[in-house]
């Protein structure tokens, strides 16, 4: 994708954004390592933790992404009442605060959950999901819907003309799969799988609670232990570096597997599908969608039912925290999307090899241990000022940088298509600058942009990562209030506040998503 004489978008904003992300992550790591003096060695127990971490993250990613393919395909080729609602609701689990999601899952699949109650009615033995099964169940619940959303974007990036052509050539579902869907997935699926792998790599609460005990020890827990219990910064930094190395290896693998699809440009019309008439296929899709819907919806409903009644009971301070959280989330989303757009334009203007390297570098931000980044920033900032006075800006910035790789994942397929299909045309017509952005880029990027913004806002609303050292008691955020309420026996109010957090995250997500809804052929 090398570009020569014409440069529609300059590269420097991308270089700047990339520099900022790298400086923040590597600077924070550097500060921790400098303070520690040296990295200390990785022990046998650490390697065991690393093996388990990679194993559970790998299985979680393969399961989530693998199951997402048929679900996304069914959604992409079916139109039914409520379809739009389903797609909207798919955004929800990924942005749930983890402990809320776990409680929801346990309400259904737990020891005292509906499933076991049903089994007991039938006289069947109870099932226990604590262990690897439980971890995988929770990770699939959290990530499958996210994967479906990302894959739907992939389907939507196929020009509708390709489906017309397929119909004209009398393609059946198998031909559509071979000539359209498989090449599209080859381009999109590795990135989606990687994103989920990286999310699961740093998973903490799910692993501990659902894992059933210390057999399920991950690198993130080992980092936590090195920090909190042993205060061995060198060990913590070494573990965090190992975690990043594993992520980079996974990123390399995924990028090596991915092949860009070449569908050519379309007119941006809404795709209609002629390859979905067979009765058995209809039943298959319907069953699949119903089962997925049930799996995703029941825990969500259980969570809502337990928390909603308490929302009106929440004290003023929780609402204040909610307001603060909305501001943080909006600001972080704006920064994250700006960083991702700039970096995305840079990546799509580079040679394949350089683009892959850059893409991999961005992934660093996603898997940098929040504990290490937070500590590093604390160490750096306190040489200038009182870090607590900057608590909110720091939280915004770190959330933005952590959410940015997700935004990039969402934006890259659309960006690549935009540049491959329209750069030459735009250059030859002399359409540049603001005019180009409004007439060419925005209409084609609106949907992924909105999705990326909503995702970043929702992720930033829920994040508790760096506040351990940057908590400002006068300016508590909503996730902090949930945590404090739960720690003060007020489980019910905590559930209410958690639902408020979910509603905010989801509301923000929706707000952004609506902006992208104008061409509704998701």
């Amino acid at each position: 994708m090398a570009r020569g004489a014409f440069e529609i978008v300059p590269r420097w904003p991308g270089a700047l954004a990339l520099g900022l992300v790298m400086a923040l992550v590597l600077g924070a790591f550097g500060a921790v390592i400098a303070r520690a003096g040296a990295l200390s060695g990785i022990t046998t127990a650490d390697w065991a933790a690393a093996r388990f971490t990679v194993m559970q993250a790998g299985l979680s990613a393969l399961l989530s992404a693998g199951l997402a393919v048929p679900v996304a395909r069914a959604l992409a080729r079916r139109h039914f009442p409520g379809r739009h609602l389903v797609i909207v609701a798919l955004g929800a689990p990924f942005i749930l605060p983890v402990i809320v999601a776990v409680m929801g899952l346990l309400a259904i699949f737990g020891r005292a959950g509906w499933l076991n109650a049903g089994l007991a009615l039938l006289g069947l033995p109870k099932v226990s999901l604590y262990g690897l099964d439980g971890i995988l169940l929770a990770h699939v619940f959290l990530n499958l819907p996210f994967a479906v959303r990302l894959l739907l974007n992939g389907w939507a990036s196929v020009p509708s003309e390709r489906f017309r052509l397929a119909a004209a050539l009398d393609f059946g579902p198998r031909d559509v799969w071979r000539h359209i869907e498989r090449p599209m997935l080859r381009a999109v699926l590795p990135g989606v799988t990687l994103a989920i792998f990286l999310v699961c790599l740093t998973s903490f609460t799910v692993i501990l609670v659902m894992g059933g005990g210390p057999r399920a020890t991950t690198l993130e827990l080992a980092i936590y232990q090195a920090f909190r219990l042993e205060f061995d910064l060198g060990h913590a930094a070494a573990l965090a570096s190992l975690q990043m190395a594993l992520s980079l290896a996974a990123a390399g693998l995924s990028l090596a597997v991915a092949r860009p699809a070449a569908f050519g440009a379309g007119l941006g019309r809404i795709a209609d599908r002629w390859d979905r008439t067979s009765r058995s296929l209809q039943i298959f899709d319907a069953t699949l969608l119903a089962a997925t819907g049930l799996f995703i919806a029941t825990p969500m409903l259980a969570v809502l039912a337990s928390g909603l009644p308490w929302i009106t009971d929440l004290p003023r301070s929780v609402w204040m925290a909610a307001g603060r959280t909305v501001i943080i989330a909006m600001a972080a989303a704006l920064i994250a999307v700006s960083l991702a757009v700039a970096t995305g334009f840079l990546i799509t203007s580079l040679s394949t090899r350089a683009a892959r390297l850059t893409d991999a570098a961005v992934m660093l931000a996603m898997t940098a241990s929040p504990l290490v980044v937070g500590t590093g920033l604390f160490l750096i900032l306190r040489t200038f000022t009182d870090p607590i006075a900057l608590a909110l800006p720091v939280v915004v910035l770190v959330n933005a940088v952590m959410a940015m790789p997700f935004c990039l994942r969402v934006l890259l397929p659309g960006l690549a298509v935009l540049r491959a299909d329209y750069d030459r045309l735009s250059a030859s017509l002399g359409v540049t600058g603001a005019h180009w952005a409004r007439r060419v880029a925005l209409p084609r990027l609106r949907r992924p942009l909105a999705f990326a913004g909503g995702l970043a806002a929702a992720l930033s609303a829920g994040d508790l990562g760096v506040v351990a050292l940057f908590a400002d008691p006068g300016h508590a955020t909503l996730p902090m209030q949930v945590y404090v309420l739960a720690g003060a026996y007020r489980t019910d109010q905590a559930a209410g506040a958690a639902i408020l957090l979910v509603l905010i995250a989801f509301g923000l997500f929706r707000l952004f998503d609506r902006l992208g809804d104008r061409d509704a052929d998701l």
Binding site: G213, L221, A471, G487
Partner: protein
């Protein structure tokens, strides 16, 4: 020594800081855990109570206090740290940042002797298993009976690597079973439904009905009785004894407000402070005052024996007991 502020940051900082700064009152910076400064913790009452008598501005800085203290070293702005737990004393002492309190602790009403020169306990309780009377009609009457109870009796505990109560359980088992602690854990293991990173996740699993019991504190039922009028939650009282935990306060040696820090320690031991601990912290006050416990609280069952390992003993066995626990729980 405070880091020097740049002019721009100074303006930003003064816009954010409370008005007390402008009035020129001296500041007392108190490091505390997250739960402290929320309206559901004791922080607001402490702030009001102390500011009423000191003519100063008390500022809470919440978060992971020991880690922050260690990162900052002798440039820490903290004047007082409150909310350290008994399992953190060795590490906190080793920072060399804390000063002797110089207080007479003979008026404390702890179940154990406390003569530490640096740390002043302000509340205490023992680790205990909490159960629901409606769900468990005949609870085990001793630790030994608990170990031999049917394995479908499920308990949620906390990870000793991330939670003070989780570590207290390990020390508790060691204090009761000594060399046979490994066998005790093998008997306990099938009853452990899961291990959570912190107390709140475990307690949530218990109240939501997922587990029959939870590792918590002997004073936990007081919250349900007093705040929720719920009489169904109770602690299992074991004749083998219960492990002691306390929260502590200390002043820093680097403080630029030594007189205020000293006055704060006096305040911690005062009737005002100790009298509010029961319902602000849901634990026993370190110095029992007249009417310091609501009647429901005073009526809670008490164990015959309180177990506690000295700091040196606990530090010596901490590594080995965690390793033993990890290897048995991973078998």
């Amino acid at each position: 020594m405070r880091p020097i502020l740049s002019p721009a940051l100074m303006i930003a900082g003064s816009l954010m800081a409370s008005s007390a700064l402008a009035e020129g009152k001296p500041e007392l910076i108190v490091y505390a855990p997250d739960y402290f400064a929320s309206e559901w913790g004791p922080g607001p009452q402490i702030e009001k109570g102390f500011e009423g008598r000191c003519g100063c501005d008390l500022q809470f800085r919440t978060g992971d206090l020991l880690t922050r203290l260690r990162l900052e070293g002798d440039t820490t702005p903290a004047d007082v740290v409150i909310g350290l737990t008994t399992d953190q004393t060795a590490a906190a002492r080793a920072t060399g940042l804390l000063a002797d309190h110089g207080k007479d602790l003979s008026t404390l009403t702890l179940p154990i002797a406390w003569t530490d020169p640096v740390f002043v306990p302000f509340n205490w309780g023992e680790a205990a298993f909490i159960y629901d009377k409606n769900r468990l009609a005949t609870p085990p009457a001793s630790f030994a009976a608990f170990l031999t109870a049917p394995d479908d009796l499920k308990i949620v505990i906390q990870d000793p690597r991330s939670s003070p109560s989780g570590l207290a359980l390990l020390l508790w088992v060691k204090a009761v079973y000594g060399d046979t602690s490994g066998d005790a854990w093998r008997a306990l293991k099938p009853k452990v439904l899961t291990v959570t990173p912190g107390w709140s996740e475990a307690y949530g699993l218990f109240t939501s009905g997922e587990a029959d019991m939870v590792l918590s504190y002997i004073t936990s039922p007081a919250y349900h009785i007093i705040a929720e009028h719920d009489l169904t939650k109770a602690a299992l009282i074991f004749p083998e004894g219960h492990y002691f935990t306390a929260e502590l306060v200390a002043k820093t040696g680097t403080t630029d407000q030594p007189a205020l820090a000293d006055a704060f320690l006096d305040y911690v031991l005062s009737d005002d402070f100790q009298g509010m601990i029961a319902t602000a912290n849901w634990s026993y006050p370190a110095r029992m005052t007249e009417g310091g416990l609501p009647p429901e609280f005073a009526a809670l069952a008490r164990p015959e024996k309180t177990l506690f390992l000295t700091e040196t003993e606990a530090e010596m066995i901490r590594g080995p007991v965690i390793d033993e626990w990890l290897s048995i729980m991973s078998e």
